[in-house]
Symmetry: C2
Subunit: 429 residues, 2 copies
């Protein structure tokens, strides 16, 4: 089986962590591929989904660890996929499937790079977890329990993308995440909407509570929300100012004709890296099928996420949210914190940063763009802060990869280059 | 087949008008039952679902018309039904099925009453439509086209309920209904929620728009909304004040421990009859399954209904809503008006009111309670205002009937009494 064929095998496994689907199957398939490449592999149980850990000794003890995840986002809305999400399909030199950019393509590209060496110059470790897309709830305990196993001199994080202009990027940090489910309750059952004149509607209650969280310019109104925000250093700010960003291309990719609050391209870059957010991921109440149904719903639910920046603490933000709801008279609304993630940042001066930059320059036509942090979230803080390993994130995606959306894909040329960059990094370390 | 067996046959047909389901089947079954009772029947096509019209001549030309509907509400949430909605089940002398109280039980009780006469003293007509639960969109044109066919001296409307204390009720009016679907649009597709810092979220936009419609005390803020409201006459107000109402029982039935805004029982009665409302029937955006998914939704949808009181006009209210959204900067939100209904009212002094009252006194243990109007809506205005027929609504339901909710039911004793009341009315007319 070629490496790309193996990748397709992996993509066929619908390992949706939010639905606890095909998790064991996927962990076993990853294990099989690592073993075939000469790794000593363990499937290590956690309180949630198992972690696949692999190690292959090199000539030197110097160690590079790859952090990846074998789980994927739910594929819905299914009707928007051109081909089914778990039936990998190649069209115009792009490979389409849920998880191909985030993050199964990177797992297999890294494995291909390792396999290109007859004798590995350094020791390589893989930690591949199965809960990244649900906020990595078991990884903190895992990392704290297996510190010596995970020891390494540097870490390559799970994913990276070419930007709208085709420039490869490298990220040195991640945002934190505070994901909260809110639920408002009314009657014990759905009622005829004629009773709306005398019975409170939990959907009204929930949306009233939600609208207290932000003003119309998206400034978050939770008291203390911005208190711990650490602004970027002058050094970071200089790097940010040098980031090339084509707003027109970005807007076209995102399918919008203007940014939020008509912000400029420069503001957009700054917000993507240093702006915390409060977003409605989902909301549901009552009858939502076709036609009309006159109902007074029994309950209403919303899922919201806060993206956090260094030094915001998701547990503290959750407490502030709870206090905010109480203060505004919404203490009857249930709140549930799901999989908190802390923000992370690796110093621009770390050795792995220059090694990776040189490797990228050696492979790609365009010079790499360095992002001191990134717009997405992950458990990178466990590596940078808990394990103390300098970490950079690169990968085989591009600006058209549609991560978390229907028709996720990667370019097969990017995939080849991604293999070569990892090979260069291993040589140079 | 006994009458109750025939009713169960009718209840097995899942004639959900919102889904255009089993409509023709149900119209044909109703036709069959009317024909077996000696009616001359026509299934009359409309632009939507067909109307079943039946007529049976009596000794006198005096004519009583029954307005009913063979369609039902959608049965969801399905998992809350003790037995499946379209498999009628008797438990503790109650018959459970979707549509048994609203309105198939009344169709069959009325038919049983007519069948109890060897020679009918008066002429009986049935008009049984198939779109009541979606707002009767075709009935107005039907009524205007078939005025002579529908000529009658009085009309018995589709439904009625014993109250919490077991007193039979009679209603002389109905609220109007303005049902609107709203839709806000963001990106062309769902995005990773990391982009929430730079791309507008249509769910935020929709809930912000919705919260401008009412203040926190449920006063509707649409300019001109209350302008055409006609307060009850002194005569009506006296009847309303005499309505017995057990707030504790009502709250227990509704599954709440207090009324909206902690209103008193008297205020509750007044609001049920004379209070317009603005209610969220449903809202949906983004990911609403289990677990967490970090998504920035592409669109957001809400269904709202306004219950209207005499002289509010649903088409005017829809225009005022559209103007309100424009005025508040939400003209990008799509609005769609579905099946408007006007409010209706029959004078307390009409002959059919006293005939029905006397018939109810002759059958029931408790004296009837007269409601000058009711909390629900329907196309009654087409009969009272367009055809000019005095109309009263009575029926076989009770306060536990859970109309529009899971586990809809009627008491089989109420069903027998309901047959007897119609028999008495036919005798007395």
């Amino acid at each position: 089986m070629t490496n790309v064929e193996a990748l397709k095998e992996l993509l066929k496994i619908p390992s949706v962590s939010a639905h606890h689907q095909a998790i064991q199957d996927c962990a076993e398939k990853v294990t099989e591929f690592l073993q075939e490449a000469g790794f000593h592999v363990q499937i290590i149980p956690t309180e949630g989904h198992p972690v696949v850990f692999g190690e292959k000794k090199g000539i030197s003890d110097k160690t590079l660890i790859f952090y990846d995840h074998y789980d994927v986002q739910p594929p819905d809305p299914l009707d928007q996929w051109v081909t089914p999400p778990f039936e990998p399909d190649v069209r115009d030199n792009r490979l389409y499937a849920r998880g191909v950019a985030d993050n199964k393509g990177n797992i297999m590209a890294r494995l291909a790079a390792v396999e290109s060496f007859d004798r590995l110059p350094i020791t390589i470790k893989f930690i591949i977890e199965g809960e990244e897309e649900i906020g990595s709830p078991s990884l903190q305990k895992f990392v704290e329990t297996h510190k010596s196993l995970l020891k390494a001199d540097a870490c390559i994080w799970e994913a990276g993308y070419k930007d709208e202009a085709g420039r490869p990027t490298m990220c040195l940090g991640a945002k934190g995440l505070c994901y909260v489910q809110l639920r408002a309750h009314g009657s014990k059952r759905d009622l005829h909407s004629a009773f709306a004149v005398i019975v409170e509607n939990p959907a009204w209650r929930l949306i009233r509570a939600l609208t207290t969280l932000k003003d119309s310019r998206d400034h978050i109104l939770i008291e203390g929300f911005y208190q711990d925000v650490e602004p970027p250093t002058a050094e970071e700010r200089a790097i940010v100012d040098s980031i090339p960003y084509d707003g027109d291309k970005a807007r076209a990719m995102l399918g919008v004709d203007h940014f939020l609050n008509d912000m400029s391209d420069e503001e957009a870059v700054y917000h993507l890296l240093y702006g915390p957010s409060c977003n409605i991921c989902g909301i549901l109440s009552g009858y939502t099928g076709q036609g009309s149904k006159t109902v007074l719903p029994a309950d209403a639910m919303a899922k919201i996420d806060f993206r956090l920046v260094p030094r915001q603490d998701p547990q503290k933000i959750f407490q502030l949210l709870t206090l905010h709801l109480e203060k505004h008279g919404f203490s009857d609304i249930d709140t549930e914190l799901m999989g908190p993630l802390w923000p992370a940042k690796t110093p621009v001066t770390a050795e792995i940063v220059s090694v990776t930059e040189q490797s990228m320059r050696a492979v790609y036509e365009n010079p790499p763009v360095i992002y001191p942090t990134m717009s997405g979230s992950g458990p990178m803080w466990l590596f940078t802060d808990v394990l103390g390993i300098p970490t950079v994130s690169i990968g085989v995606g591009d600006a058209e990869s549609r991560t978390h959306s229907p028709n996720e894909s990667i370019s097969l040329s990017d995939y080849e280059e991604g293999i070569n960059v990892i090979t260069e990094i291993i040589k140079r370390m």
